[in-house]
Each structure stands twice: as structure tokens, then as C-alpha cells.
């Protein structure tokens, strides 16, 4: 039953991404040409609100016993992987004009060629898993 809750979170996430046009290939190009503030506004305000929320959670965590604390998981720091992987992701992001969340949203919107992006992403993931031990 808990899984149904995650489906609902996903539905809400998709509606926001679509309504704010973050799933649009056109918007991604506009962002990388620095010709509008729109996508930067989306990213920066999302980061800002998340940052405030995390600070409040951390503040509240202080007075709570260990088991009641809300865990805040930090991403593992591996600068070579973060940077090189990041650049490779960026190359694909601008070509497909969609990051992972929007790929699924496009499928829901019946924009079926996006299936190719998803299949590509799965192949890319399997390649990464195969090469994982040889990469930084």
C-alpha cells in the first residue's frame, strides 16, 4: 500500500514538471542559450525552497532522539566521477532536451519517440554498470 503513495508523489511531480514546462526540449535549449531566466528560475527557486526545508529539518532534528531524526543523506563525494559523469549527462541532456524525470513524463504525454531516450538511458546504465570497476 505504501507504494501507492509513491505513485501519487510521482503524479504530482509530473504535473509540476509539465506545467512549469521543464519537460520541454525548447525550454532546455533556451536555457543553454542563456536567452531566458525561466529554467534558471525553476531550478534556483526549487533549490531555495529545498534548502530552507532542509535547514528546518536539521534544526528540529537537534532536539530529537536518534531514531526520530529525519535522515538527510548526502551524495557521495567522488569528484572525478561527479565531474566526468556530469559532463556526459549534460551532453545527453541538451540533445534529448529532457532529464530523467521528464523522460517518463513525455511518455505519459503520449510523446512516444521518447521511448528511444528511455531505451538509450537503460543501455547507458547497463554500460556503466559493466564498466563501473574500471572507472574513477
Amino acid at each position: 500500500m505504501k507504494n501507492i503513495r509513491f505513485i501519487i508523489y510521482g503524479i504530482i511531480f509530473a504535473i509540476i514538471l509539465i506545467k512549469v514546462e521543464a519537460i520541454s526540449w525548447f525550454r532546455i535549449q533556451e536555457m543553454f542559450y542563456f536567452q531566458s531566466f525561466h529554467m534558471y528560475g525553476v531550478l534556483l527557486s526549487a533549490i531555495g525552497v529545498t534548502m530552507i526545508g532542509i535547514q528546518l529539518i536539521k534544526f528540529r532534528n537537534k532536539n530529537l532522539p536518534e531514531e526520530k531524526k529525519i535522515p538527510i543523506v548526502k551524495k557521495e563525494f567522488r569528484w572525478k566521477a561527479n565531474l566526468i559523469g556530469g559532463i556526459i549527462f549534460g551532453l545527453g541532456w541538451a540533445i534529448a532536451g529532457a532529464c530523467p524525470g521528464p523522460i517518463y513524463a513525455l511518455l505519459g504525454l503520449a510523446i512516444f519517440p521518447a521511448v528511444a531516450i528511455l531505451i538509450g538511458a537503460l543501455i547507458g546504465t547497463s554500460l556503466y554498470l559493466k564498466l563501473k570497476n574500471k572507472l574513477p
Partner: protein, 185 residues
């Protein structure tokens, strides 16, 4: 009142509405579910599912909330599609329109250009290549725009700041030097 509801349902939202809502969703996931927002890990889960035995399937069913989350994302898109609430024309900057017109894009209706999003060759291979780089890169970097650029940067995590700088280096290279040649194919 009806006008406002129509606006919410059928028109696009400005960044100062959509952006903060993404942040609130990330925080709600953290507080109510104790989950850290992230999407690209779902690629690994789907890959495991494709290659799975019954055990991995069961494990995924119990542990991998992101699988359910991305199913929800598909449903969300479907809801908007069935409700006819899609934006007909994305109001991108005129300068971007001019730039893209020079690259051979002429149809600016819908969320994506029909000149690239179709099942012809080589377009379908270009999308596949884009996806391949997205899948490989996001798993290598340890996350994508959601997990790194929003969740991670909001924590000022060094990994996420570096990854996000990478996202933009790659994106700028692609948009300015690679995509123009691909669109000319």
C-alpha cells in the same frame, strides 16, 4: 473563480510557482516518507527488473520506491494528456526561436520539436544517443538534475555542486557544438 481554476489546469505555470512546488515536494518526500528525491536510480532498477530473477523482483518490489515514483510520473503525464491540459505553444524567447529556426526547426507547437521527436532515421538514433549519454552520465555522476542539482545542491554537497557544473559544461558543449550538426543530418 472558474477562470482561476482554468488557468491552473490549462495554462503553464510561471517559474516562481513551479520551482517552489518542486522544492516543497522534495521536502514532503523527506519528512513524510524519509526518502531523498532522485530519479536516475530508476534506470538501474528497471535494468535489474529486465534481468531479474524472482528474488530481485521481490527485493525491488519492497525496497525500490523510485520504481513506483516513476510509474507515477508516467501516470501524471497521462492525466494531463487525457485531460487535454497540454500547453499548445511554449512561450520560449524570440531569440531562441530565431536560433532554432536557423538550425532547421520550424514547428514550435507542443513540448518537443516534431523534427527531432519522430521515428525516422536518423532522428530516432539521435534520441537514443541522447538517452545513452543521460543514462551513463547520471549513474556515473551518482545522480541527475533532481538528485544532484536540486536535492544535493540544496545541501551544498560538494559532489552535487561539481556534478551540476558538469551538467552545464556538457549541456553547453552539446547545445552549441554538437546539436547543430545532429539537426543538420
Amino acid at each position: 473563480m472558474k477562470k482561476i481554476i482554468d488557468q491552473i489546469l490549462f495554462e503553464s505555470w510561471p517559474w516562481y510557482i513551479g520551482g517552489p512546488l518542486i522544492g516543497l515536494l522534495a521536502i514532503a518526500l523527506l519528512i513524510f516518507e524519509r526518502k531523498t528525491l532522485g530519479v536516475s536510480i530508476s534506470f538501474e532498477q528497471i535494468w535489474a527488473l529486465i534481468n531479474s530473477s524472482k528474488e530481485t523482483f521481490k527485493e525491488l518490489y519492497e525496497k525500490s520506491w523510485q520504481i513506483w515514483f516513476v510509474i507515477g510520473i508516467i501516470f501524471g503525464g497521462l492525466l494531463i494528456h487525457l485531460g487535454g491540459a497540454e500547453t499548445e505553444f511554449i512561450a520560449i524567447a524570440d531569440t531562441t526561436k530565431a536560433t532554432l529556426t536557423n538550425l532547421g526547426i520550424s514547428d514550435f507547437s507542443g513540448y518537443v520539436p516534431i523534427e527531432l521527436f519522430n521515428f525516422d532515421f536518423p532522428q530516432i538514433l539521435i534520441l537514443l544517443l541522447g538517452g545513452l549519454l543521460i543514462g551513463f552520465g547520471s549513474r556515473f555522476a551518482g545522480g541527475c538534475t533532481a538528485g544532484h542539482s536540486i536535492m544535493g545542491v540544496a545541501q551544498l554537497a560538494p559532489a552535487s555542486i561539481i556534478a551540476t557544473i558538469g551538467f552545464f559544461i556538457g549541456g553547453l558543449i552539446s547545445t552549441h557544438f554538437i546539436l547543430p550538426s545532429l539537426l543538420a543530418l
